[in-house]
Symmetry: C2
Subunit: 249 residues, 2 copies
């Protein structure tokens, strides 16, 4: 068996996220499903593509990492060409190569970087509209940066997840940094952390947006964290603004 | 009569260029047609939108300038809101304001800047694929810059136009500069000139691409100019890579 590692880029607009909804889903509306269908056809095997994590419906990825095991003896170039030919144009393989047997795209993740993009022009830029959340009212970046500071470090992020913790699973996570920059009307919020709870980045983005709009005080983010109550944080920001940027192993 | 000036941004993918094909074209597949239809509905007049120039089918614009005269008494804010509501998402009005009576979007043009974008990654970037020409083979930027030098200044660009000069119209034009930069796999060729012949930027781009691929010597561009023969220059590069960037008045 060979272990093959891929770097995948996708425009998530048309898909129900990365993860396959059920094992027998042949009408794949997921990135995983699309790729497995092509690999199954190519190898004649039942390939299980291991992804670095789930992404929500409509979320994009610049450098998604996945791996799969196969007995197929094609060269990496041949596999890449096959995928290029049969995958839709909104899913591309940036790189494909052999990995060590022990490499596992999900278990080995050390940290992830997401970027949330806001088109903060009055008009909705036609060139980036599929990959940004359009907010025509000018956001106060300085207040957003101030609010973000409270989230850095290890905290219980229970207020920042849609997950209903049934089984006392920990909602403690570590955020290493949040960078917020604005360039020519485009705001990019880069969030790096060891692992993330369900919808965590989108709820952080939604909360920081409310701070930027002046609806929430920057300081209130500290209180929201302490209250451990999803109702206190801001709305979940739209999926189309979110892109998985990088994975560290 | 009030003279209103607009800065327009459009994703040209779905359109047959800026210019309306005929006066009675109500099933507008052109940017001009789409905007006139909305303005006609709003004003009850027959509005003639004057554009800064034609753009080919499939070509985009970041800052297209147009103006129109109207008796309508709405405020500029109200007109902008109306256009925002009724125009499709791939055409947006970035700015709209009153201009002096003598302002004419086409006659007053001093210079235009186009940018031709090439995705020079092996894979076709999913986020820019609608606005770039994908060339997976690495182009030699230094040779392209060298070739571009021959085009700067005032020359007869007969080799670089699809126009069949029937009536001895001059094909002499002036190019002020061509900047070529590469950033993260994206090549941008910025071409600034006083006015351009039919398909001139796309044929320049196509010729420089052939130089970058090593199919043409940089020096041969000088000969191509002198020969005044369309057959000698490179192919017309695909429309989707071309964007009208800026107009100087």
């Amino acid at each position: 068996m060979r272990n093959i590692k891929m770097i995948i880029q996708y425009d998530g607009t048309r898909y129900n996220g990365w993860q396959k909804q059920n094992q027998k889903d042949s009408t794949a509306k997921t990135i995983q499903g699309k790729i497995e269908n092509v690999l199954n056809k190519m190898t004649g095997e039942e390939i299980n593509v291991i992804g670095c994590g789930r992404t929500d419906s409509g979320v994009h990825a610049e450098n998604y990492i996945a791996n799969f095991f196969t007995d197929c003896t094609l060269t990496t170039d041949e596999i890449e060409k096959y995928l290029e030919e049969y995958l839709p144009k909104d899913i591309v393989i940036k790189e494909l190569r052999f990995a060590k047997d022990r490499f596992h795209a999900r278990y080995n993740v050390k940290a992830k970087t997401y970027v949330y993009r806001i088109d903060n022009n009055k008009y909705n830029n036609v060139f980036t509209r599929d990959f940004t959340n359009h907010i025509p009212v000018e956001l106060n970046i300085e207040q957003m940066k101030k609010a973000a500071e409270y989230l850095i470090g290890t905290h219980d992020f229970k207020s920042f997840t849609s997950l209903k913790a049934k089984n006392n699973k920990s909602t403690v996570r570590t955020i290493n940094y949040i960078n917020i920059i604005k360039n020519d009307g485009l705001i990019e919020m880069e969030v790096n952390g060891n692992s993330f709870l369900l919808n965590m980045v989108r709820i952080i983005a939604g909360t920081l947006i409310e701070v930027g709009e002046g609806k929430l005080m920057a300081e209130s983010v500290e209180t929201i964290l302490m209250e451990k109550d999803r109702e206190k944080a801001g709305n979940k920001a739209p999926a189309k603004g979110l892109t998985l940027k990088e994975i560290q192993y």
